[in-house]
Every structure is written in C-alpha cells, then in structure tokens.
C-alpha cells in the first residue's frame, strides 16, 4: 500500500455559537474526524446540509484552522508550512467550487484567468504561458479561441470546464471539488462528471469530491465517506457502501433518494424511509 497523499487526523472545528461570555455556546461543525486518501483515489464525501462537509474541505485547503487535530499533506503538517513550503503545497492542491461564476473575476478574460497561476509561480515565458493555456483549454474540451472570452460569455458548463482547466494548470496532485456540478443541468452535469474522470486518467490526479447528490458520488468515487453531524458515520469502497450500507443513517439517506429506476413512493419502500417528522439533523442515529 502506498503512503497516503493526505491524512486528516482527529480534526475538530468548533465555531462560536454566540451567547454571553460566561456561557459561550459553541457549534461543533467537524467532530474528531479522521480520513486518508492514497494517490490516484477518488474519495467522495456525501452528507446533507450542515453535516460539516464544506467545513472539512476548507480545513484541508488550509482556509480554516481547525480547533484540534492535524492535516498532513504529502507527509507535512499544512499548518507548519510557511514561505516556500506553503507555496509548494498550494501549488500541489487545487480546488473547484460550486459556482464558477463567482470564482472568476468578471473583468478577466479566460486566457488571463488561466495564465494567472503560471504567472504567480513564475512559470514559462509569456508565449509559453499562452501555449499552455491553449493546451489546457483543449484538454477540457474547449477550443483555444475561448481564451479571448469573458466569464459572462460562457454557459454554466463551459465555465465549470474553465474552472477545471484552472485547477489543473499547475499539474496538482490533489484536486478538491465542492459540489462542482450541482448548479448544472443534468445533461451538462454528465459532461462535466465525465471530464473529471477523463482528467484523472490523463493526469493521474487524486480527487476529493464533495456532494449532496448520492448518484453523483456513486458515479465518481472509488471510496466514500458518509458525513453526519461532523463525523464520518460510514466509509468504505464505493460499491460496498452503496450496495450494502451498514449504518442506519446511510440507509435512510439512500432510501430517501428518489430514483427514476425505482417505483413511486408509497409502494413498500416507504416504511424504510427516514422518519417523516424528524428534521435531517435528527435522522436515525446509529443503533449500535
């Protein structure tokens, strides 16, 4: 077994929940969570809103300092890094977010958006960078003329392709994707998911893929972690978790997914559904 690329150990994140100073509340978004991912894997993290999955992603990206625990990327604690070490880490770890429209500067052309990471890292000459931009655009299925366009001239799917192109400009080891297809139409979503798969094959990437859509997670992931209330309640090989879920919460979640291939609601599966009245945060707890 190869060394893990990323190791998250016992990470917790408590946010200030307000209240007077002698009785301060805190909200624990991530609660003593550990996970690891080996090079070349795709880890899917699935959970409902408030489960802490986005917080976890921000901790891994070193955008949030956890209140406890450690994140090791390529064997180094990301919070011990500074200067050159930190720059190297940032280069090796890239992200794609849900709303590509808000992650681009509207006044920058696609070409300069994509060249920016190269400029920051002082890679190549001006002409060389232009060539690399064209190359990356081709790689994500857009032609080189897109470099002249501006974000508002792109469709949602094209914008997400540009976001992927930007993430792979520096040939990172790890790409984190937070709900990258949930703003897209179904037909376009399939294109983008297949692009993620193709990029992984082409460039040997490792992914952490966060989504609330179980179908998407099943399709893209080798390994799955199901998050609930800041913890991972079930983890394992994707096929095993989806075909034979062991935790009650995973089962409730899977059972609540409306599925075009299944019969309509109220035909026997209903009894196993998540309890009618309980909000998601009180969904069935582990009975073990």
């Amino acid at each position: 077994m190869s060394e893990p690329l990323l190791r998250v150990s016992e990470v917790s994140m408590a946010f200030d929940g307000g209240g007077p100073f002698w009785r301060r509340n805190s909200f624990v978004a991530v609660d003593g969570l550990s996970l690891q991912i080996r090079p070349g894997e795709t880890l899917g993290i699935v959970g409902e809103s408030g489960s802490g999955k986005s917080t976890l992603l921000r901790i891994i990206l070193r955008l949030l300092r956890p209140t406890a625990g450690q994140v090791l990327f390529e064997g180094r604690d990301v919070w011990s890094l500074s200067g050159r070490g930190l720059r190297d880490m940032r280069r090796r770890m890239q992200a794609v977010f849900q709303d590509p429209a808000s992650s681009f500067n509207p006044r920058q052309s696609v070409g300069s958006i994509l060249a920016a990471p190269l400029e920051v890292y002082g890679i190549g000459t001006r002409a060389g960078r232009r060539e690399k931009v064209a190359e990356s655009l081709e790689l994500v299925g857009l032609n080189a003329s897109f470099a002249q366009r501006y974000p508002h001239q792109l469709s949602g799917g094209q914008r997400q392709r540009v976001a992927i192109a930007r993430a792979i400009m520096l040939r990172p080891a790890l790409v984190l994707a937070d709900e990258p297809t949930s703003a897209l139409d179904v037909s376009v979503q399939a294109q983008v998911l297949n692009l993620f798969k193709a990029m992984k094959k082409e460039l040997g990437l490792t992914y952490i893929f966060v989504s609330h859509n179980l179908g998407v997670i099943r399709y893209i992931s080798d390994h799955v972690a199901v998050m609930h209330r800041g913890r991972i309640v079930e983890t394992g090989a994707s096929e095993a978790v989806f075909s034979n879920p062991r935790h009650d919460y995973t089962r409730a979640l899977l059972d609540a997914v409306p599925d075009p291939t299944a019969g309509p609601l109220g035909t026997g599966r209903q009894g196993q559904r998540a309890d009618f009245e309980k909000p998601a945060t009180e969904a069935p707890q582990c009975s073990k």
Partner: protein
Amino acid sequence: MDQGRPRLPGGSQPVLEISGLSIEFDTPRGVARVVDDVSLSVRSGEIVGVIGESGSGKTLTALSVLGLLPKRARVRSGSIRLAGESLIGLPEARWRAIRGDRVAFIPQDALRALNPVLRVDTQVGEPLHLHRGTPWQAARRRAVDLLTAVHLREPAAQAKKYPHQFSGGMQQRAMIAMGLALEPQLLIADEPTTALDVTVQAQVLKLLREIRDTYGTSILFITHDLGVVAELCDRIYVMYAGAIVEEGPVRRIFARPRHPYSEALLRATPTARSVQAELVSIPGQIPLPSELPPGCRFVDRCSVAFDACRRDPPPFAIEAGHTARCWHCEPRP
C-alpha cells in the same frame, strides 16, 4: 380541512387545460419565443409533472396559469382554461380572485416567499381573511389546523414563530399549508424540493401525495429532477427548448422513453441505487430561443437524427396518452 372537496363529476374532467400556448419576449435582438405551442392538461386529482432543464419554458408555462408572467412576456396564442373558465386576458382584479382561491402556488424558495416580519399563523391564515373575510382571530386559529394537516410538529406553538425560525422543510410545509387554506382545485409547485436535503425532500413529496389522496387536489409539478417525477407523478410532460417533446404515463416513459431527448436525459442522470454504467452525456447545450435549429429542436444534439429531422415533427401517438415529437415515432404505413 375537515370536509373533503366535492369531487367534480366524471373524475377525469380537466381542471386545467392549456392548448397551443405560445409565449414570447421582446428582446433587443428581436422576438424570442420561449414557449412554443404547448398543450397540457391536468385532470381532477391528478399529479402531473413538467420536466425540463433550464430554458425549457417549464416555469413560464406554470406562471402563465397564475397570471404572473413577467411584464415583458406576452401570450402570443393559445388558451388556458381552469375548470372551463378562460384565463387569458383577464383583468388583474379577476386574477386576484382566482389566485390563492382556485389555484395556489408553491415556489422553490419558501423563505423568500414568506414575509419575514409576520408570524407564520398570520401568513397561513391571510388568504382566508383576504378572500373570505374571515376575522383575523379565526383565520389564525384555522392556520393552526392547516399546519396540523401538513404535519408540522407542535403546530400551535410553531404558528407563533417567524419564518426565519423554521428549517427549510418547515418553511415549505408552511407554504403548502397556506396553499391549502382555500382548498384550491389546483396546486402549482415549481421545484418545491430542490433546495431541500434528500430526507426532507422525501417527506415533502409524501405530503403532496397525501394531500392529493385526501382532498383530491390536482397538482402541477415543475421540476428538473427525474427521480422526483418518478416518485410523485402520474403523468409527465418532457419539455425541451420551449416545446413539449414527449408526454405520457410516468411509468411508460421511464421504462421506454421514445423521444431521444427523454432517453438521453435518463441516461445522463447518475443513480445512487444501482451500478451506473458510463453516463452518456448529451453533446452541446440547450439552444437559445433565438438560435433554434430549423425542424426538430433537438436535432443538433441528437445521436439518431436523420434527413426528416429538418422538418418540425408533430406529436406522434405511440399508444393512448403517450406521444412523442420525433420522426422516429412516425407510424409506418
């Protein structure tokens, strides 16, 4: 909701009948026809789904039934009938009498639709006060009954809260309660569960089904989610780029879609319940109304297009109640 709505005689008389509806926008670059020759009906007690991606015209079709089209949009042709009464060109005063009373609307974003400075019971009871002149106190009491009917926990206590104190699922329940206040014949729901978590979504879908079964309310359900449609609807209309490309019973269409677009949509949707073969993505993107190809509007993205597709296909009957606008479905002589 103690006494059920008297069912219409015949049971299958359409509550809503849209025929040949076309809606246009004036744009700086000319007229854009965003809904083109749409015909659709909802019978008493039926749950009908309209499924489509963005730009398919599904929401505008729904808004036209409520007289809530944006100012720049206009109905170019066609008719909309609610239990026989024509709705096109009604004066605003008449619309106000119909909306809420005979047709209720459940939007996607319940929090934005609720008034942040009014308590929930006041809002849920408001239609009774406005339409029926029920005194406020009685209307608020009735609101608690309605909140009970939508299975809100501790309805009496919750009724005194403000919308922001509710979770997303509770807000949507409050919207549904408000919609039911005047026992409308038709509920129009536009992506009501899209913003909700899957477990909460399952609860809301079950509630809608229960409402239909209990009160015989007809529901027109607008969504982009194939799974939701399969769970909830009796019949569906598949819309693409402003037109209905296939209609029929939901089971039939899912088992054997006949329009290449419906089929492609099914094969592009990742499923959590079974091993997913490679997702077949639809190449290209949905055309803008100003850039529609001549003939079939799916022709540029279709894998089985042939010569005939340069002409606009009419709806071909596949069997009773199931039609598809595709030349491949043309009956062979």
